[in-house]
């Protein structure tokens, strides 16, 4: 896709594991193992999946904060994955990140105003006065008062600290903001405040978000397009309406089915797709389809042959042998 702001193609991030003995076989964690997606300006791309599926590693690779084993990350016409040194530093202005933990991601010894101004200084945008003015402006943008610029992180509540994190991310006027579980550590009521803030800022600045979360309700609320990851791969990827309205992959069904919902009672034996066990280790994923060891529909072919991610409807990609060429999944339970 040429009009994409972010274009990730066949991204792999493998972590070599230390061997127990010099003669032990070499082992690697294939944290991200062939991930491709594109994100247009002003849009939000969501990644969901269980713990350990590779969401954070994907985000860190996009940020160039972890070493990329292979594949390409392009930002507009720049190849982020190939840049080094000064060129990388300049390109980095265009991408910023918001972290899950508003407590540990802020330097406790710095004042809030300085925290927000820091990225501008590091990337040498503007004079000192300009930085200070911009910090003030950002504070107002994220709903903090300018008299709070002088306070230290511990003097803020969790939600306010996340607002500082957001202000800091916006300091260099990025085009893309990578959000890794930005509301997971926050109380429900505060989550809504931050989600609404993210929507407002996106509309104002035309930001693109790469939004990572394990909360499907939040992802549905915020994202235009959603990818479901399992053990380092994307198993399904679709526009929001298609993913929630016509999910095709059994793992997506299981995720959707597991979310507690108002209007459904467990003791009425509400039909739901249950998964046994935990995801297998990414060091030795099962042969064939990686989901086959937990998939209630797995057939012999699933354990032998890995299904490829293929486009079955416009923009709707899925990796499952049981999805037909016409983009239907005959085995999907009537209710999830």
């Amino acid at each position: 896709m040429s009009d994409a702001l972010l274009d990730v193609s066949d991204l792999r991030v493998h972590f070599p594991l230390r061997r127990a003995t010099p003669f032990a076989p070499k082992r690697t964690v294939k944290a991200v193992d062939g991930v491709s997606f594109a994100l247009a300006k002003g849009r939000t791309f969501g990644i969901v999946g269980e713990s350990g599926s590779g969401k954070t590693t994907t985000a860190l690779a996009v940020m160039r904060l972890t070493e990329i084993t292979s594949g390409a990350v392009r930002l507009g016409d720049e190849s982020l994955s190939a840049l080094e040194g000064e060129a990388l530093r300049r390109a980095r202005r265009r991408v910023q990140m918001i972290f899950q933990d508003p407590y540990s991601s802020l330097n406790p010894r710095m004042r809030a105003g300085a925290i927000v101004a820091e990225p501008m200084e590091l990337m040498q945008v503007g004079t000192e006065t300009e930085c200070r003015e911009r910090a003030q402006e950002l504070f107002a943008q994220v709903g903090l008062r300018s008299d709070q610029l002088q306070l230290f992180p511990h003097q803020f509540s969790g939600g306010q600290r996340q607002r500082i994190g957001i202000a800091r991310a916006l300091a260099t006027k990025p085009e893309l903001v990578v959000c890794d579980e930005p509301v997971s550590a926050l109380d429900v009521a505060i989550q809504a405040q931050i989600l609404n803030l993210l929507v407002k800022l996106q509309e104002e600045y035309g930001l693109a978000y790469l939004f990572i979360s394990h909360d499907l309700g939040v992802v549905q609320y915020l994202c235009d397009e959603v990818a479901v990851m399992y053990l380092g791969r994307m198993v399904e990827q679709a526009p929001r309406e298609a993913l929630f309205g016509n999910p095709l992959h059994p793992y997506t069904w299981a995720l959707l089915s597991a979310v507690p919902r108002v209007g459904r009672r467990r003791r009425d034996g509400a039909a739901r797709l249950r998964l046994e066990g935990d995801p297998p280790s990414p060091i030795s994923p099962p042969p064939g389809c990686r989901f086959s060891s937990r998939c209630p529909y797995a057939e012999a072919r699933c354990k032998a042959e890995e299904p490829v991610l293929r486009e079955v409807r416009p923009g709707h990609r899925v990796a499952c042998h049981l999805v037909r060429e016409d983009g239907t999944a005959p085995l999907r339970p009537a209710t999830l």
């Binding site: 009521a189 989600l195 016509n246 507690p260 467990r266 046994e276």
Partner: protein, 331 residues
Amino acid sequence: MSGPLLEVEGLKVEFDTWDGRVRVLDGVSLSVSPGETLGIVGESGCGKSMTALAVMGLVPKPAGHVTGGAIRYRGEDLVKASDGRMRDLRGNRIAMIFQEPMTSLNPVFTVGDQIAETARLHLGLSPAEARKRAVEMLRAVHIPEAERRVAEYPHQFSGGMRQRVMIAMALACEPEVLIADEPTTALDVTVQAQIFDLLEELRAAEGTAIVLITHDMGATAEMADRVVVMYAGRKVEEGPVDAILGNPAHPYTQGLLACRPNLQLGHAAARPQLHEIPGVVPPLHLLGRGCAFADRCPRAMPRCGEAFPPAYDVGESHAAACWLLEEARAA
């Protein structure tokens, strides 16, 4: 059975802190009957865990004190019970699953030893019987290869499995009341669903009374018969789950329900407006005389800041503490 198994009435808990004495629980009342699930919801710091700890006789000492009210288990007031009696009840008749499983499992003993020890102490089993019971319990909570895994240490288990081990431990002595304090907070949704299935299985099969503490309205909707909504150390609303979800009377409950982006299956249309509760929970030492929610409440009136509203009945076993309800009644 008739009547509640556990009844908390007008519970007050205070702490000595740098800011002076703060009242962490102020007149909390609730009850749970055999085979019933009571949900407790509310934002962080509203006193959910403290309520559970008070029932278990585990209010942190010496800073914390139960300064009023009663906690009755089968009619016996636990506030007045001796430490020995509480130890006896804890784990035996009333068990608790804690928010963070790793802190309540001992890293130096195998999982099997820990479950067996509980079973031995509380049920008076022989060491051999207790070991057998440990394997059975691991199987009951769906841990694969229970015979092998019984000899492993807590760090060899995943988060979800550890939480299941905690449940196995809590169940080893067949408690009548099980308090589950955010039992799935750190877990994946698929694993969370397994844990909830397990709790529901237990309730249905053994008639266990369950108190489920969570901030997730969806989980409450699926699991609970009745719901208690807490705010700043007080109960602000209580009722049958359908009434609380379908017809919430307190503005805080209404806000809690509206601020969650609920998952919608089917072709969801455009992004809906997400309601916000403005501001944050006030620090307890700064609470005034009025309704604690007043400064965040979209419908607050002058009198809300002046006195704490009493509970008004708004339906069958459904009550809420809000001045609007008196206005509605007067009108």
